[in-house]
Amino acid sequence: MVNNAKSAQRGPGRSTKVRESTVDRFFLIGVYILLTTFLLVVLLPLWFIVVSSFSSPAAVSAGEVFLWPVDFTLRGYEVALSSPQILNGFANSLFYTVVGTAISVALTVMIAYPLSRADFVGRKVLTGAVVFTMLFAGGLIPTYLVVQSMGMLDTRWAMLIPNAVAVWPTILAITYFRTAIPDELREAAEIDGASDLRILWKVVLPLSGPMIAVIALMYAIVQWNSYFDALIYLRDDSLYPLQLVLRNILILNNDAGGDATSALERQQLSNLLKYSLIVVSTVPMMLIYPFVARYFTKGLLLGAVKG
């Protein structure tokens, strides 16, 4: 690590004319130790889960697994991927995420674009009305009553509509439309006789790719990861999203089936299954996140500029 630090210092990036003092060199070593600790603290639990998921049910249940798989097996994955309720949860989550995100993004753009236009009379009142919902809310029960009175309880609509628009992405979109799209473009299009909708569709949206990606990701990740709406609005378990299925198996210890015969084997298998399930349900996110992290950071910072 010391070598690493030194070579980094000599590196071409920021050539220091003055040699680092001894104090600074020790300080830098301390920094590397600190960061390595951070790295290990985050990595170790994840590693433990992955390693356990490849170990034998008996070894997992006896607590023998620590840093390396014991009696390597794919048994946990076989059970996890053959369980109908898990597969059904996957399918449901996929549906809610894709359709829900599409609805959310469409509605967000529909309100954000007009609110970003300085010549849209009523803009301030409406923006205020939208932002206010972030500060004060009617609460869980009153919202539940609305959903109930609309007949959405226990239907797929309850997963798509009641939380369709969030304030934060809306503010983000407004800021983006206002700052990143030059007014001259719109004026030029207006002179050419384009209507507002046409301007939005042909001029503004094609220039808003990065922002659309950011808000779509924000909505998609919330939709994929949350279980709360499903918990309160859904009774029929064939509609459950993956996270609720996972909660039932992982936290409430509901039996996930499997084909084990004896009680002991069944118990051991269900322990193993938990690890495999965590991996299976997290891998899709971990695979896409390095690519989306960049956009996410952008979104965070775009919001921060405004905030």
């Binding site: 630090a5 509605l107 009153p142 628009v165 949350s226 992982l250 936290i251």
Partner: protein, 333 residues
């Protein structure tokens, strides 16, 4: 409604229309409806566009605010929200006279205060440390890895915590066992609930929160570093006198936002970590609302709890913002 930054042609048109001699007061009162009408006629497509999202906000945000009156009524399904009889403050009295309620409020407050204090410094330290090193590969690796847990769902985070802390099969018991310490069932003990909640939160969000400070640090004027170097400052002094003051406004904004949401502890996580054994510390307002309102179907009482929470939260947010504006000159609005 009074707009300042209106599009230039519109302003000119109005000025031409309004008689120059008329008083300012009359002028604006005559102008207002005219301006809206004109804008709607010209930009009817924009108004068409906002109808659907506004309907959403009205239905799912503002109707619930109005529905919250059932906190002051004896709600019953047959008579509906507006038909039910008034109950005055009866539900609130019931709530405040319940000895458990005090515990629940203090549980909520302590939990989020602890989370706030614990999760403020670590991302800052992480960002400052990352800012010190030049090795790109190591820097990127640390950033990517610490960022990753942010994308893991609450259900999975909680299950991981349960599995790792499990006294029989967990990773922690292997470590403590190695040092000859007895295995402890952390989640069965009320005292550990807050630690598990808060530190799993820190574990999950530190890398994500560091990003915002990293950005602030990237924006520091290089001239300041040069000046510090000329003055003979060492690395630690540079951090203390240049880096920290530069990110203070960012820290203040983050702090305001988290104090403002101090009573909005995530239902999702507390509910999952809850079990009958740790309830004395893990029952918070959000989980209590769920149990009263949804599970016991006592809609009026559940609404009263929620309303109480919303009001406290609003007051906190406004208060912190006002204080911060006076002290630092930085506020959210």
């Amino acid at each position: 409604m009074v707009q300042i930054d209106v599009e230039a042609p519109t302003v000119r048109a109005q000025k031409a229309e309004a008689p120059a001699s008329s008083s300012a007061g009359r002028n604006t009162s005559r102008r207002r409806p005219g301006r809206l009408h004109r804008s709607i006629r010209r930009h009817w497509q924009l108004y068409l566009l906002v109808i659907l999202p506004l309907l959403y906000f009205a239905l799912f945000k503002y109707v619930p605010m109005a529905n919250a009156v059932i906190a002051f009524k004896d709600y019953n399904v047959i008579e509906g929200i507006w038909g039910s009889a008034w109950a005055g403050f009866e539900h609130f009295e019931r709530l405040f006279s319940n000895p458990a309620f005090g515990t629940i409020v203090s549980n909520t407050f302590l939990l989020s205060l602890y989370a706030l204090i614990a999760s403020l410094p670590i991302p800052i330290i992480l960002a400052l440390a990352l800012n010190e090193i030049r090795g790109r590969f190591f820097k990127r690796t640390v950033q990517m890895v610490t960022y990753a847990p942010y994308f893991i769902s609450t259900v999975i985070i909680v299950s991981m915590a349960i599995l790792i802390l499990s006294p029989r099969i967990g990773m922690l018991s292997s470590v403590t066992g190695f040092f000859g310490l007895p295995a402890v069932d952390y989640l069965a003990q009320p005292d550990f609930f807050r630690h598990v909640y808060v530190w799993s939160e820190v574990w999950q969000t530190a890398g994500y929160s560091a990003v915002i400070y990293m950005a602030a640090l990237a924006g520091v004027d290089p001239a300041l570093y040069e000046a510090a170097k000329v003055d003979g400052a060492n690395r630690l002094q540079k951090i203390w006198h240049v880096d920290l003051p530069s990110i203070t406004p960012t820290i203040v904004v983050v702090l305001i936002l988290s104090v403002g949401s101090i009573m909005v502890v995530g239902f999702e996580k507390a509910f999952l970590l809850q079990n009958p054994l740790n309830l004395s510390q893990s029952e918070i307002i959000a989980t209590y609302t769920y149990k009263i309102g949804i599970q016991n179907a006592d809609f009026s009482l559940g609404t009263a709890v929620g309303l109480f929470n919303s009001v406290i939260n609003l007051v906190l947010l406004l208060g912190v913002n006002a204080v911060s504006k006076r002290v630092t000159g930085n506020g959210l609005w």
